[in-house]
């Protein structure tokens, strides 16, 4: 990743809302999603979602459970292939990028992960550099410096040598945050990033996000659903004007044209077990 683009579109629980002064810097938005459709387990989870995120933007996404926030994250970071629509990262179609290239543009803090293995914290954070290390190579000084920085910023350096299995839920989540920071990508996706965090670390998290944004404009504002500096946190508001526009900025909602929360009609009965397809 090039250091000069360290500006991040950080997103809590998803990531959207378009706009952006910063877009103009090199023409294409960092994340551009067009008419995205994703079916999971026979249900349409995302239906025609479009949004753009520019560099340096810090955007939050809120919505009821099952609204498709995580699915949108998965579609953007390449772990899920959309059924229709396109995702562009840094102006390039994601479908044409290797997983490695995607991982150099977008880092993700997952909602949950399998940390049942006794890896030391530092090793887990170092895995954030996977996309930079060649198969037959080893980590370089630059990789190690990135890992150090990430551990400092996520406040996990104090227990760098402890096995992740011995950490509390909140500490573990900070480790995953450090892992994502270590990748030093232009975009950072955070899926339910504060679920396990104590009150002391919630602002800390948001501050770190803000610090990684070049515009540095976003201010943290407490919220029960999202630590996004823009409590508008996009999306689900029926009137884009209401509370969605941060001071001095043009606000846009996702999905831009909808007047009702799209999830309402989308998640009817659970007749099909959601995991049914995966086996």
């Amino acid at each position: 990743m090039s250091r000069d683009r360290d500006g991040s579109a950080a997103a809590d629980g998803g990531d959207e809302d378009g706009d952006a002064a910063a877009d103009d810097r090199d023409g294409s938005p960092l994340i551009a999603v067009r008419d995205l459709v994703v079916d999971r387990g026979g249900e349409r989870v995302l239906n025609g979602v479009s949004l753009t995120v520019g560099r340096g933007e810090l955007v939050g996404l809120v919505g009821p459970n099952g609204a498709g926030k995580t699915t949108l994250v998965a579609a953007v970071n390449g772990t899920l292939a959309p059924d229709d629509g396109t995702v562009e990262l840094d102006g390039r179609d994601r479908a044409g990028l290797s997983q490695r290239e995607v991982a150099r543009l977008v880092a993700t803090v997952p909602q949950e992960t399998n940390t049942a293995f006794e890896f030391p914290v530092e090793t887990v954070v170092e895995m954030g550099r996977t996309a930079y290390v060649s198969r037959f190579g080893t980590t370089t000084a630059a990789d190690r410096a990135a890992v150090e920085r990430a551990m400092e910023r996520a406040d996990v350096a104090a227990f760098a040598d402890r096995p992740v299995t011995t950490l509390s839920g909140g500490e573990r989540q900070r480790v995953l945050f450090a892992r994502a920071l270590a990748a030093e990508t232009p975009a950072l996706l955070l899926d339910e990033p504060t679920a396990n965090l104590d009150i002391n670390h919630q602002p800390g998290r948001s501050t770190s996000c803000a610090a990684s944004s070049t515009t540095g404009r976003p201010r943290w504002r407490p919220s029960t659903t999202s630590t996004s500096p823009r409590a508008c946190a996009t999306g689900w508001c029926s009137s884009p004007a209401a509370g969605c526009a941060p001071p001095g900025r043009r606000g846009r909602c996702w999905p831009p044209t909808r007047s009702t929360p799209p999830s309402a009609s989308r998640r009817p009965s659970r007749t099909t077990p959601r995991w049914g397809r995966r086996w």
């Binding site: 998965a74 293995f117 198969r135 995966r278």
Partner: protein, 380 residues
Amino acid sequence: MTEVYRRAAAYSAGLLALLAGVVTVSAGVGPVAVPARTVLAVVANAVVVPAGVEWGTGVAGGGGPLTAGPPLRVRFAHPFAFSVSETHAAIVMRVRLPRILLAAFVGVGLAAAGTVMQGFFRNPMADPGVIGVSSGAAVGAVSWIVAPSAVLAFLGPLRPLLAGGAGLQLAAFCGALVAGFGVYLIASRDGRTPVATLLLAGVAVQTFLGAVVSYLLLHSGESIRRVTYWLMGHLSGASWGEVAVVAVLVPALTLALFAYARDLNVLLLGETDARALGVEAERSKRALLAISSVLTGTAVAVSGVIGFVGLIVPHAVRLVVGPDHRILLPTSALAGGSFLVVADTVARSGVAELPVGIVTAAAGAPFFLYLLRTREVYDL
């Protein structure tokens, strides 16, 4: 971190020294005891170095056919000439060393493949044969023993290779690959191979192939003893030819697995996470499966189904060095080599020779239970 590789190198060097020591001592153990110093002298005497190059000038003597190649002949010399008794030299070089080295390489291969399978499936009960490779090899080998002519029909194109009397090994190897590839195909859909499907398909195919082996056993008549012996895993009758094959394949394939150690670490966190971190999960999984299946197939083909090495050695080593495959893979491979050499030494020095599979199971299981009781175990 380079720190990790430093630790891996230090552990590996120690375990390599242990393996060399175990091989040396083992070569001296048996009905005729040979002192370790004599063993080393015999091995040193066998060392050859190229001492010079001769340009052949005339026709090769003896009326043999003229060779078309360049008339270049490399002269070899024995730099060492320790005085050892002929008997000792023959016992060590012809009888014991091939068998011991075969045990070492088979142990390395099984332990490496077992380590990879346990990490790959995130399942502590996975072993090298989990996707049906060992069962496939068993079907191949047993069919060869019971009805070689039927197998020959299948192995038709490979007939030239059978000239050296390697029919049994070849049949087992082919059976292993066919079974492994079959399970992979069954479990794959739309270019994806979910690990859970693979595991279940492997179990089903193993059960089916077990039925085939049982049926063949019923009809094996005179050869039932040989079949049972093969199925228990054995290393007797090892030849230098077999050693040469495994000495090339096992280290090469183990190194290839080592190149995927980092991917394997990331895959432990789950496939979605691994992809998000930049690992081409499906491609890495295919490579890991293919390499470890060929590795297991090679080991099983020359030694029969030796259980527990690939299951217990990785666990025991993991309890000591942790789950990082960059350290775990080389250490557990080398530990597997030492373990199998020791087990085979016990197997052949009793009153009656035992199949080594019995020894590995009988000795490995209690040792493993001891580790389980004394160490804190999280997962895997």
